[in-house]
């Protein structure tokens, strides 16, 4: 059968245009939605990057503070190392007045010193074999032992006083090698006294020194 069609052509045109309009609207909405989504994503990325940047900045600031403190400590360490090296090179400073005061407290009242001599003795530390070679290769400085040698020449009324003084000196922990060089009678203006000489030493090497 021959098919009849009463639908006017404008209806198909209208439908086609509506379809096209719908498609264009959908595409526009899709593009706009995509742009909004992209914009939102970009804004979120910027926010995240800013948060990360702030975090890094705070970390950098903290690191800078720590680095400053580290530099200060390093400076201190260098300073202290230099001081330590100086001390190691020169030895520990012992004040003579304090040493004399200590000796005076140990001496009997009737004892008198005729002579008092303080010498600093430096002596290379003995090393043997391979250790010596290594030490000489690593650093040209050879380890040195420093000793403060104290020599006392005095008179005491009795041997008893002298012995007592010698015993007290031996009890002091930082006095080493307390030794009496000689003790002999001495007559002065009809008085007999005991003339003596005592040597002792103090280790003035620094704790970490060479």
């Amino acid at each position: 059968m021959r098919e009849l069609e009463f639908l006017p052509p404008w209806y198909h045109v209208l439908r086609r245009r509506k379809r096209r309009l719908r498609l264009q609207t959908s595409l526009t909405l899709a593009v706009f939605s995509g742009f909004c989504l992209w914009n939102f994503q970009a804004a979120r990325n910027v926010r995240n990057a800013e948060a990360a940047l702030n975090s890094l900045r705070s970390q950098a600031l903290q690191t800078e503070n720590e680095l400053g403190r580290l530099a200060y400590l390093e400076q201190l360490r260098v300073q202290w190392r230099q001081q330590d090296q100086i001390i190691a090179r020169l030895g520990v400073s012992v004040e003579s007045s304090r040493l004399i005061g200590t000796l005076e407290s140990l001496m009997p009242p009737s004892m008198a010193l005729l002579d008092f001599q303080i010498d600093t003795r430096e002596q290379a530390r003995p090393t043997e074999g391979l250790a010596r070679v290594r030490a000489s290769q690593a650093d040209s400085t050879i380890p040195i032992d420093r000793t403060l040698v104290v020599r006392m020449h005095g008179v005491a009324p009795t041997d008893n006083d002298l012995a007592s003084f010698h015993a007290r000196l031996s009890e002091v922990p930082f006095f080493n090698n307390v030794a009496m060089t000689y003790a002999r009678p001495r007559i002065s203006k009809d008085y007999v006294m005991r003339e003596f000489e005592i040597t002792l030493s103090l280790n003035i090497n620094a704790a970490g020194g060479r």
């Binding site: 059968m1 009849l4 069609e5 009463f6 639908l7 006017p8």
Partner: protein, 400 residues
């Protein structure tokens, strides 16, 4: 690799009748047809018949029906209201097919009284007619005013439907049964289709794949209801319900002792049915005299009245040919329809099915027939079917 059945869902066939709205959607599965969804709703009493609000109410109902039923898509094929379409039969001399549309448009403008570009004119070649020594071609010309068509389209469009095509009732009715023309010998068969509507009855006579004759008779089921209403002194609604109840099949024992109500209903409707039969017989007589060849062999009755065995019997007695109830959904899988819609012959779905099938540009079975060659004009002669049928000599009618 994958042997999946091909599935092609057709548009929804929308039938806006005078008292009901029907929607039917089919799909092609393989080489067969199956119903996707079907819906039928009666119009409110105030919107029935010639009511001006009928179309607006129907459109609102269509929107709801599509939403409530599992229709696929919103593509719709419907037909122009009968009151919007004017139909004339024209006889033209044999002219080349290419010149035929222009000639018909020129003739139709004077016949229908339409002015330029205010109407849509379509035609169907009915066949060649011998008029004296001259052979002419008879054409069924359909005319619809553009403004009425546009208003109708606008109303349908408001329902949210997308119009795929706009048809006329006779073509859609015939298309529902055209699918049964499969063999070469079927193409020579002359079939009569009688669609009994609420207000009018449409008589379609076809030969093979060609619609040759169409006439509207102003008698319908409404006249039958009114006759019962007058006879039994009951309301139209009650008469409709009563007739519907009496259409149900009865046992032989009961029919022997027919109740007085049934007899009264049959007495009331007999005259209307016989009048309808006479009108259809006149149509057959016109066809037989006008178009020489094979006579009508069978008549199919469709519409809500098709289930009335009394009407079938009366028409059969009046027409002297085999009259049967049309079954448009025969061999279609109707599993998706509601059980209430699957009762009887389902002939009330003819128009909706025919509309839906317009988008199926194929046959559903092996086809070995030949396509109809378009009939191939002098001034046209308008055939007034009413006069022509009435003045037809009875001696020329074979079997009448």
């Amino acid at each position: 690799m994958f042997n999946l059945p091909r599935r092609h869902v057709l548009p929804i066939g929308l039938d806006i009748g005078s008292d009901t709205v029907k929607l039917l959607q089919c799909q092609i599965v393989g080489s067969g047809l199956s119903v996707v969804a079907a819906a039928r709703t009666a119009l409110p009493e105030e919107a029935r018949g010639e009511s001006p609000t009928r179309l607006a109410v129907a459109v609102a109902m269509v929107r709801k029906m599509i939403a409530q039923h599992p229709f696929v898509g919103r593509r719709v094929i419907t037909c122009l209201p009968p009151e919007a379409v004017q139909i004339r039969n024209l006889r033209l001399p044999l002219i080349p097919p290419a010149e035929l549309p222009a000639a018909i448009e020129f003739e139709a403008r004077t016949v229908f009284g339409f002015e330029d570009s205010q109407a849509v004119i379509q035609f169907l070649p009915a066949g060649d007619v011998r008029q004296g020594t001259e052979t002419r071609q008879e054409l069924i010309v359909f005319g619809a005013r553009q403004i009425e068509t546009n208003n109708f389209i606008e109303q349908i469009h408001r329902s949210g439907c997308l119009l795929e095509s706009l048809d006329v009732e006779p073509c859609a009715l015939f298309r529902a049964f055209e699918r049964f023309v499969r063999r070469r010998e079927d193409e020579k068969d002359v079939q009569v289709l009688v669609d009994v509507g609420a207000r009018k009855t449409q008589v379609i006579i076809s030969r093979g794949h060609d619609l040759c004759f169409f006439k509207t008779i102003d008698l319908g089921s409404g006249n039958l209801h009114e006759a019962v209403s007058r006879k039994l002194n009951i309301s139209i609604e009650e008469a409709r319900a009563l007739r519907h109840r009496l259409m149900e099949p009865v046992e032989v024992k009961d029919s022997q002792h027919r109740d007085p109500v049934r007899r009264a209903v049959e007495d009331a409707t007999r005259s209307v049915m016989e009048e309808l039969g006479r009108e259809i017989a006149l149509c057959l007589r016109y066809y037989c005299v006008t178009f020489r060849g094979q006579r009508p062999a069978r008549a199919r009755v469709t519409g809500a009245e098709a289930n009335d065995p009394r009407l079938i019997a009366t028409l059969g007695a009046g027409l002297n040919i085999s009259v049967e109830c049309g079954r448009p959904l025969f061999s279609i899988d109707c599993g998706m329809m509601r059980p209430a819609d699957r009762l009887g012959s389902m002939s009330e779905w003819t128009l909706a099915l025919g509309l839906g099938l317009k988008a199926a540009h194929r046959t559903f079975a092996p086809y070995d027939g030949r396509p109809r060659s378009d009939a191939v004009h002098a001034p046209a002669e308008v055939v007034d079917l009413n006069h022509a049928v009435a003045e037809m000599p009875a001696a020329e009618v074979i079997g009448a």
